[in-house]
Symmetry: C2
DNA sequence: GTTTGTGAAGGATTTCACAGCA
DNA sequence: TGCTGTGAAATCCTTCACAAAC
């Protein structure tokens, strides 16, 4: 686990590959499910079967963070779930704002999957003055000029971008400007952000466009 | 480009890595944009700047499929766009069906981003008898029992799953049963499908849950 | 001069395989 | 006996660097 830098000093903590971090939430999900089914122990093989992954990969992934299992037995389901939630910082709530209250933004704020996982959408914004002031799913839509103020006041840490492509980069710039470091982007572009900001894009058209390659 | 099998025979055509296939639509998108801005030539460096990728990676990716560029000049924008669309089979239309006409399904069928890219949603399905028969965005919602028939009749090649998690696997089984080979899945699970079926999942909660790892 | 296409090198990720522990 | 944790090996993917072409 320890590596040496070019200057001879030692890294005791290895940087965990991003692919590994992206898989951890999958493990959490299966563990939650297993737990609700009354199972208290799970093996890397059982986890792998659920997720279509090799047991070795799961054990390797977990080994970046510690030794959570017992040989001959497997992992304690709720203990491992707690550990992973803590590693991913899912043991607290995170506040989010949605920018762009068209059809997509409305679907996002009414999606019932965020809140149970601790992601609370506390504010909604739009550029269009016809929409500003409306009440959507219990949120009063605000003007984007209010963004920075609201981010501070409501301790918003996540920006969800659901504006059309032609306004996406300016909205992302505004989010960055307001101090947001994590952006979930639904607009079909590769946004320009500083290295300190993490953008994750969701783009169903890109998914379809690569699937067609494999189609008859 | 040629490799040798264990039996001594030769593979003349290398399998293109899936990561490469997933990047091709990004290139298509930038090329379309460049073209509409009146540029007729583009270099791997310019492409890389747009997409935050190295020029070498782009050239390597393209080299899996042929030699499209001219040394000292770059790539002809519209020629490369055509080539990539042809490789990805985007030079024809693809018909799709949406299963699950709740909020998410309604957002999907009304999303204006699919049709311009040649993805036509021709049918909508739901299990709920209260919804079956309704007209949503010009589509008459059908019972899932009609799925296989409609898939054949309308030449549907893509299934888009937007049902809640507790019905997702059965809907996916029904799609597989009806002969669908490509599924875009919005439900938060890792579906079980035969190797011959390609599933691509869109899961904003997973995205958020890995982003929190990097958050202060 | 510029930029491609591509072997070779380098780096990252996955899988293997087994010692060690319950 | 059963399953983890992990070095080593294997595989996969990216980047380098330069000859060749325009």
């Amino acid at each position: 686990m320890a590596t040496m830098n070019s200057d001879g000093s030692v890294n005791t903590e290895l940087v965990v590959p991003e692919v590994v971090i992206r898989r951890l939430p999958l493990y959490v999900r299966v563990l939650t499910q297993f737990s609700s089914q009354g199972n208290s122990v799970i093996s890397s093989e059982q986890l792998g079967l659920q997720l279509h992954m090799t047991p070795a990969q799961i054990r390797k992934d977990l080994s970046y963070f510690g030794r959570f299992g017992k040989q001959g037995r497997g992992y304690d389901v709720s203990m491992l779930e707690q550990q992973l939630r803590s590693i991913l910082r899912l043991d607290r709530a995170w506040n989010a704002a949605v920018i762009g209250m068209g059809r997509l933004g409305r679907a996002v704020v009414s999606y019932p999957g965020f809140a149970p996982e601790g992601f609370n959408i506390l504010a909604a914004f739009d550029i269009n003055n016809d929409i500003v002031g409306q009440n959507i799913s219990g949120l009063r839509v605000q003007s984007i000029s209010q963004l920075a103020t609201a981010v501070k006041k409501l301790d918003i840490k996540i920006g969800i971008v659901s504006v059309p492509i032609d306004h996406a980069q300016e909205v992302i710039d505004a989010l960055v400007e307001s101090g947001i470091k994590s952006i979930l982007n639904y607009a079909p572009l590769s946004p320009k952000v500083p290295d300190s900001v993490n953008v994750n894009s969701i783009d169903p058209v890109l998914s379809l466009q690569s699937m067609t390659y494999y189609m008859k």
